[in-house]
Amino acid sequence: MRRPLNEPRSDEITMDPSPIVLRPTDFDGFAHAELPRLLAYATALTGDRHMAADVVQEAMVRAHQHWSRVQAADRPDLYVKRMVTNEFLSWRRRWHVRKIMSVPDETLHSGASRVSDHAEAHAMRDALWQRLSDLPRRQRAAVVLRYYEDLDDHEIAELMQISPSTVRSSISRALAALRLNSAEEGNLP
């Protein structure tokens, strides 16, 4: 028997009238509430759903060990997202072999004149992801935090524990590299 993850966190429900104060979060409730978002973020970060699950699992086990510290943070969700990011940045050797390389679909591309907009968009996304995966990890993390999580420079800086100017330069270099690579491949002007 398991409580589905899309159900409200039981510890957030206030019993009224009640003389007792409920804890703002417990680990299980936190995990139920935050796991879907953390997994999506980690998948965008790594490009590999299984690797993302490993990263999140490691981070969550550590979050449990230091739960009082996580719980005391202003934003426990950002605190754990930082742990996920750090886990990704401390890339383990075994994960290298799991890097996913997209392979062009020859059948799809042989009918270029008949290819649908959807298929074309899909192919462009694949190509862009390939270039993203070639970025240095810190640059990729900054790009994901900006363009997937929609965080500003200061939020990214706090999460990555670097200065806002370093965030700006990382993203700037990443975008330049993506455009440069795009130009080399002739995909974008």
């Binding site: 028997m1 398991r2 409580r3 589905p4 993850l5 039981s10 510890d11 429900i13 019993m15 009640s18 003389p19 007792i20 104060v21 409920l22 804890r23 417990d26 680990f27 299980d28 995990a31 139920h32 796991l35 879907p36 997994l39 999506a40 973020y41 980690a42 998948t43 965008a44 490009g47 759903r49 299984h50 993302a52 699950a53 999140v56 699992q57 969550m60 086990v61 550590r62 449990h64 060990q65 739960w67 968009a121 462009m124 996304r125 862009l128 992801w129 993203l132 790009v143 994901v144 363009y147 997937y148 975008l175 993506l178 455009r179 795009s182 974008l188």
Partner: protein, 222 residues
């Protein structure tokens, strides 16, 4: 589409491939339980040494990253559970002011597992303690243990755990609770109550079964 918009679309498409959160949650729970069992094994070893009079304290190997393998900690043999305990009443059953309407005497339709889980946390118990109880009671998930513990609290009893460690002789197993339910009720009744509570039948069996074991069967109103 601008290149920045392309970037957002690409990242969203990647994120949409994320694995099912329920499965990952199960893995996390399993990993935490494994760690907990590792600690218990080490503590048990330490307790045996203490009982043998070899030392007041024994080295306990680090079981978490960053731990100090050479650290010596005192081990209390009371921390080790050797048998499945039997419920022991800690205080006379009383109406529970933390439950809407006063607790056990309420019609069953006002009670469900969420309230019991809320009560478990409201009384100061933690997820660690839910895991300890889940190990003790052999429940599939800590959530079930929270439900049973919430029922114990509602019935004026105390879950046999404190500071993440199983204590003394209190408690029962999920199997016993389900058996107690089966002796007094049918699966159809479990399903009917589950529908009324908005829970699943398994949870209903635990709640009602635990109430029977506690000698305070829940009043069922139709």
């Amino acid at each position: 589409m601008s290149s920045e918009e392309q970037l957002r679309t690409t990242l969203r498409a990647q994120a949409a491939n994320a694995l099912d959160a329920d499965a990952v949650h199960s893995n996390i729970t399993a990993a935490l339980r494994r760690r907990r069992r590792q600690r218990q094994v080490l503590q048990t070893t330490g307790a045996v040494l203490v009982v043998g009079g070899l030392a007041v304290s024994v080295p306990v190997l680090a079981t978490r990253p960053g731990g100090d393998p050479a650290q010596s900690v005192p081990v209390d043999s009371s921390m080790v559970s050797t048998a499945l305990p039997v419920p022991t009443k800690q205080k006379p059953p009383a109406k529970d002011s933390t439950l809407p309407g006063g607790g056990p005497s309420q019609p069953i339709t006002t009670r469900h597992s969420t309230t019991l889980v809320n009560l478990f946390f409201a009384r100061g118990y933690t997820f660690d303690e839910a895991m300890a109880l889940a190990d003790l009671w052999h429940t599939e998930e800590p959530y079930e243990a929270k439900v049973i513990a919430g029922q114990l609290l509602t019935d004026g009893l105390r879950p046999p755990v404190r500071d993440g460690v199983v204590t003394g002789d209190g408690g029962t197993s999920a199997t016993k609770a389900r058996d107690a339910f089966a002796q007094h009720h049918t699966a159809a009744e479990a399903q009917a109550l589950a529908t009324a509570w908005g829970d699943d039948a398994g949870t209903v069996e635990l709640i009602v079964g635990q109430s029977i074991l506690d000698g305070k069967p829940i009043t069922v109103t139709s």
